[in-house]
Amino acid sequence: MTFIDTSITKIAEIVKTNYVQWETARKNGLFQKLDPRLKAVFMLGCVAVISVKKELPAELAISGFIFILILLSRLNLIRIYKRILFFGFFFGFLIALPSALNVITQGDIIFRVAALSRPYHFWIYTIPAEIGITREGCYGVGILSLRVVNSVSVVLLILNTTHFFELVRSFKILRIPDTFLMIIILTYKYVFILSKTIEDIYLAMKSRLVGSIRNSEIREIVSGRIFYVFKLSRMRYEETYKAMLARGFTGEISLNAGRGFAGRDIVAGIALAGVLIIIIIL
């Protein structure tokens, strides 16, 4: 019953992630105290800086900077870095690793992997006689892995210190239409409610299915569950719409822009912007 266990694990992960983020967003750390709009702008600015920097020392400086921010925000270092390194390893290092070879990235070979009797040519591809890891390739792998690590780090820092609704609402500062932000908030709520329902569906399925079952039958069951979720979500939508009408909803959406920036936010904003500018100049 691998498919059931995989699905349950996946859904449980959603629910767990939500709860953990709610908890950490309430901690008494540096970033938790800041205005969500400042954090949203910092997140976007930071990922933009990460994406334009082309030097390893600059990317390493960003890693160190985010590490300090995570520390000051009193987040669980082991839990958060387990996730960061997982993403960095699989989506950065592992995918980029073959590009360190001179078959893909030409350059000075620093480690010989294999030697062939002659180079081979096939259509648009060439395999050189000497295959090895190049300095240029290693640099590329390093910078790509660090970029992934840094981007995930900054996103997780913001997510773990900000309530999701506040974060989405703060995107109003970027002139994203309220209608779109409202859809995201509503979707998040539906997903959270329906995830629990799907978890129950799978647990019920697991308790009913004993012994071996044909894959075709499982696929039929899963199709039925997807149909059920659609019906359920449509029912929820009708109920939500009626509830919104009952509370005087006229179709006009306007999200509260929030209070003005406090002195603490302004000081933190200047400091964060200053560090990013120094990194850009590096």
Binding site: S51, T105, Y125, S151, I184, R219, I226, Y237
Partner: protein, 242 residues
């Protein structure tokens, strides 16, 4: 399929953000016109549905499990414009909440999976279904629509990866995605055409078959029946413009 941060250069992700914003604005305008005040909870429901489809793992040959992206089936059930918004919102939540796909790559991911995939799926379905009211031709069209939709999205993603060494490298050093078109394109195409597209096609076909059997009125891609024949059709669905 979810492109992480760091793989695309600014000269790629910024135009893709702009393209996505254009498509999204057009979709929201279209939905507002057809669904009026109901559009907010309706699109929330559609987005949650497209997010949750990815939670359903199905067993695939070889003893492993896989899940569909779901943009194809969402487009067949709700229409391509609704799917555009729904899948985009699902992708944005995935990026913001779980780190699945990068923040800088949101535009690219949405163009690939929320624009290319739903529209290709609906076109392919209409092309192969012809005027068939049901039966094997409809199911084949559903399979092909899921298959072709994901294949088109994978090829678009591969092109975005593959052009990086051409437009953003310094002294032979790759600065972003390191694999050129000659590697990115065949690798992405092969793994998708042989495995992932088959899963996508299969899920699209099975789910559509279930919908047609139990609630045909709720399927956008099939011709509307008379109101007596389709009593369960929602008002929001009825208003969606073909």
């Amino acid at each position: 399929m979810h492109i992480p941060d760091g793989y695309l250069s600014p000269q790629t992700y910024l135009p893709l953000y702009a393209a996505f914003a254009g498509f999204m604005a057009a979709a929201l305008r279209k939905m507002k016109k057809t669904l009026s005040a109901k559009n907010i909870p309706y699109l929330g429901m559609a987005s949650a549905f497209s997010f949750l489809i990815m939670m359903f793992n199905v067993p695939i040959p070889g003893g492993t499990t896989g899940h569909a992206v779901g943009a194809g089936i969402v487009a067949l059930i709700l229409g391509p414009w609704t799917a555009l918004i729904a899948v985009s919102v699902a992708l944005i939540i995935q990026a913001l909440l779980f780190g699945d796909g990068g923040i800088t790559a949101i535009g690219a991911n949405c163009v690939n999976m929320a624009v290319v995939m739903p529209f290709v799926s609906v076109w392919v379905f209409k092309l192969f279904r012809g005027k068939a009211p049901g039966g094997w031709r409809v199911y084949t069209a559903a399979f092909l629509s899921g298959y072709a939709g994901l294949a088109a999205a994978a090829v678009t993603t591969a092109v975005e990866f593959g052009i990086q060494p051409l437009i953003a490298s310094s002294n032979g050093r790759p600065l972003y995605a390191p694999y050129g078109l000659e590697i990115a394109l065949p690798v992405m195409a092969l793994e998708h055409l042989l495995l992932f597209c088959v899963i996508e096609g299969l899920v699209t076909m099975l789910v559509l078959r279930y919908f047609l059997k139990n609630d045909p009125g709720s399927v956008y891609a099939m011709p509307r029946q008379s109101s007596a024949q389709a009593p369960r059709q929602s008002s929001a669905q009825a208003k969606e413009v073909k």
